[in-house]
């Protein structure tokens, strides 16, 4: 089932792309991997955007969430009500993981598809001929197209990079990509930072993911085929661009929101009605101020003006 649902479609898609694309440095398989990466990123784009936005939003809400949790630890019902008021949905953090979970079958499938397509042994090449769909066989002259050239620059695409350039690039690009997903924080001294992480497990988790994920994937790339490392790098580069755009769009939204908050000041809306940002006390702990309704109706504004 795994083969039929994931590996075979990917193998055939890559083979088709390989045959319709021009070569780059004598190897159009790398171009096929690049195009395939873009296609995968496009397919998962809505989920990725949602995850990025949700992740940033959740982290920004953490101080408020913690304060509510602390305040209403003995009253779960009230806690849920307060969560609702600030627009926090605990299940959203779980659905935010969905793109990450979707990535794993893609990674496993692509790993197997690259190895299968590069047919590095007679048996692997023979098994590949069994996997090709009849219509792809008709579109592509398979017997002349196979086996796919395995060399690209200094790399054997079916083997790990012997000079460790790709693992370093995988680590670097993934680190930047993860960094863009994490809201920027002011520099804090070690104790304060640790204390904050203890108080805010999600921030700690994000912090550790920021280093663990790139290290882990860089580590994989030491033993993975170069073709897969190229996929990781391209995917990360696209992720960096996507992360940058999401970040700037959220910054703009935030600026617009803050600018919008200036209006009530001048219109005489009571201070209690304003959205209260979370604040940090002298001890570094977050404290929570009950937020008011975020939106003021037009009718209310009009009456305030009067």
């Amino acid at each position: 089932m795994w083969d039929a649902l994931v590996i075979d479609p990917m193998t055939n898609a890559l083979l088709f792309l390989y045959n319709i694309l021009p070569g780059l440095a004598g190897n159009s398989f790398v171009v096929a991997i690049a195009l395939f990466t873009i296609l995968i990123r496009l397919i998962t784009l809505p989920l990725n955007l949602r995850q990025q936005k949700s992740s940033m939003k959740m982290q920004e809400m953490q101080p408020q969430v913690q304060a509510i949790q602390k305040k209403y630890k003995d009253n779960p019902q009230k806690m849920q009500e307060e969560f609702k008021k600030i627009g926090y949905n605990p299940t959203e953090s779980l659905t935010g993981c969905l793109p990450l979970l979707i990535q794993f079958p893609i990674l496993i499938g692509l790993y197997r598809a690259i190895i299968t397509l590069l047919g590095s042994t007679p048996q692997a090449l023979f098994e590949l001929t069994d996997r090709i769909y009849p219509f792809i066989d008709e579109l592509v002259n398979v017997s002349e197209a196979l086996p796919i050239p395995n060399k690209f620059l200094w790399l054997n695409l079916a083997q790990p990079d012997p000079f460790y350039v790709l693992p370093v690039l995988v680590f670097g690009t993934m680190f930047i990509s993860q960094k863009l997903l994490t809201p920027s924080t002011k520099k804090e001294d070690g104790d304060k930072k640790k204390k904050k992480q203890d108080d805010n497990p999600m921030a700690g988790m994000t912090q550790s993911m920021q280093y663990t994920m790139p290290l882990m994937f860089g580590f994989f790339s030491l033993s993975f085929p170069s073709g897969l490392s190229i996929y990781f790098i391209l995917s990360n580069v696209i992720g960096i661009g996507q992360g940058y755009l999401t970040r700037s769009s959220m910054a703009k939204e935030k600026a617009a929101q803050e600018a919008g908050e200036e209006i009530p000041k001048t219109t005489g809306i009571p201070a209690e009605a304003k959205v209260q940002p979370a604040t940090s006390g002298a001890d570094g702990r977050s404290s929570y101020k009950q937020p008011a309704k975020k939106k003021t109706s037009k009718r209310k504004r009009r009456s305030a003006k009067r």
Binding site: R112, F126, S143, L146, S208, F220
Partner: protein, 388 residues
């Protein structure tokens, strides 16, 4: 426990699962078999090389490098000449955090004893598997590698002889051949190369339109190459120019065979052909089997075809077939069902034909069939647990 630890453990568990994927595809193959003198066959069967004396019906030895720790794989057919057996392995990873792969070529001597002696091994010539059967010449061994190189090693000590190895555009899976100081090498890059045996310099290259995955065959001034472009090509030995091509119905994976002015070959779909060796004119053609990747064997007026069987049946349940055809007419003389698919090229040993089988889970099995009476056959299952 802090929340971040479960995440790290989860990620490393996923990493472990990921790293386990695909290894069965990457590093396995079907056995490689060679016939030696005195009725002995040598088979590369995965974890080692086994020598079986068919006359005595006994296993002579199993060779596994001491340092291999069962991680090394051997599938390339060994080459045996002048009392020396040369073969390569599929490589060992340099370790969990290393990208390097160590691939070695070995030379064994005292082959008919209980304990063969390792004359030399060479681990500096390749980064990818040895799939091709090496070629032994008087003072050197020619080795084609899956990382596209052709190297010459001294048969005394295994040191490289050429200043630089020859590099093709893709892997070398087929056994090179030699004539009058020139080596002819097939490659998956769709070329056949002629190299100077002394220096490794290219003399000519000839594009045959498709990959050549098995050995070349030579007769007179012609070289025959079965190609993935659904043709067999006859090339001029001196220049590499195409003299004729014979069309098949599917890719020609296994090497053709030559006998008495005729070239015999079978395509991947199991269609057998006989064409004139000088002109390529068709003598006969016949569908005989399904899925043939083994080279065609011809002996004493009989063409032998080893078939892998019905592709719609799962490999573990698939049966192979050995088919004997009249070399003159293509008429089927007999056929024998085998319990596993036949991918390995059969070898003729005195009055018998030997086929090697090894499915995904089963042991290596040799079937020895009496050529004078195909109903008389016996099976030998080497005891591969024995280590030298």
């Amino acid at each position: 426990m802090p929340v971040k630890w479960p995440v790290i453990i989860l990620l490393f568990t996923v990493a472990f699962i990921l790293s386990a994927c695909g290894t069965s595809v990457a590093n396995s193959n079907w056995p490689g078999m060679t016939a030696g003198e005195n009725g002995v066959v040598y088979v590369a069967f995965g974890p080692g090389i086994v020598a079986v004396d068919l006359n005595e019906e006994k296993q002579l030895w199993v060779y596994r490098p001491q340092e291999s720790n069962n991680s090394l794989q051997f599938y390339a057919a060994p080459s045996v000449d002048r009392g020396q057996l040369v073969f390569g392995d599929y490589g060992a990873s340099g370790g969990f955090i290393s990208a390097s792969v160590t691939v070695s070529v070995y030379a064994l001597e005292e082959l008919l004893s209980q304990n063969p002696v390792l004359a030399w091994s060479q681990s500096q010539i390749a980064q990818d598997r040895i799939i091709a059967q090496p070629l032994q010449l008087e003072d050197r061994v020619i080795v084609g590698t899956a990382d596209n190189f052709v190297v010459a090693l001294a048969n005394q000590d295994g040191r490289p002889i050429w200043n630089d190895p020859f590099e093709a555009g893709h892997s070398i899976w087929g056994h090179p051949i030699e004539d009058d100081g020139v080596i002819f090498v097939p490659s998956l890059d769709k070329n056949v190369y002629a190299l100077d045996a002394e220096t490794g310099e290219e003399i000519w290259q000839s594009n045959v339109g498709g990959s050549v995955s098995d050995k070349l065959v030579m007769n007179g001034d012609l070289i025959y190459a079965g190609s993935f472009d659904k043709q067999v090509h006859a090339l001029d030995k001196a220049t590499g120019a195409s003299r004729w091509t014979a069309l098949a119905q599917a890719a020609v994976w296994g090497a053709p065979a030559y006998a008495d002015g005729v070239v015999y070959f079978v395509d991947l779909d199991g269609n057998a052909f006989a064409v004139g060796a000088e002109t390529g004119e068709l003598r006969w053609e016949r569908p005989v089997a399904e899925y043939v990747v083994a080279a065609t064997v011809v002996d004493d007026g009989v063409v032998y075809v080893a078939a892998a069987g019905d592709p719609d049946i799962a490999p573990a349940e698939r049966q192979g077939t050995l088919i004997a055809l009249s070399a003159d007419t293509g008429e089927e003389l007999w056929q024998k069902q085998m319990p596993s698919p036949l991918f390995t090229t059969p070898v003729i040993v005195e009055d018998s034909i030997v086929v090697a089988m090894q499915n995904e889970t089963g042991p290596l099995t040799l079937e020895i069939i009496d050529l004078s009476d195909p109903d008389r056959s016996w099976t030998f299952v080497p005891q591969v647990e024995d280590e030298s």
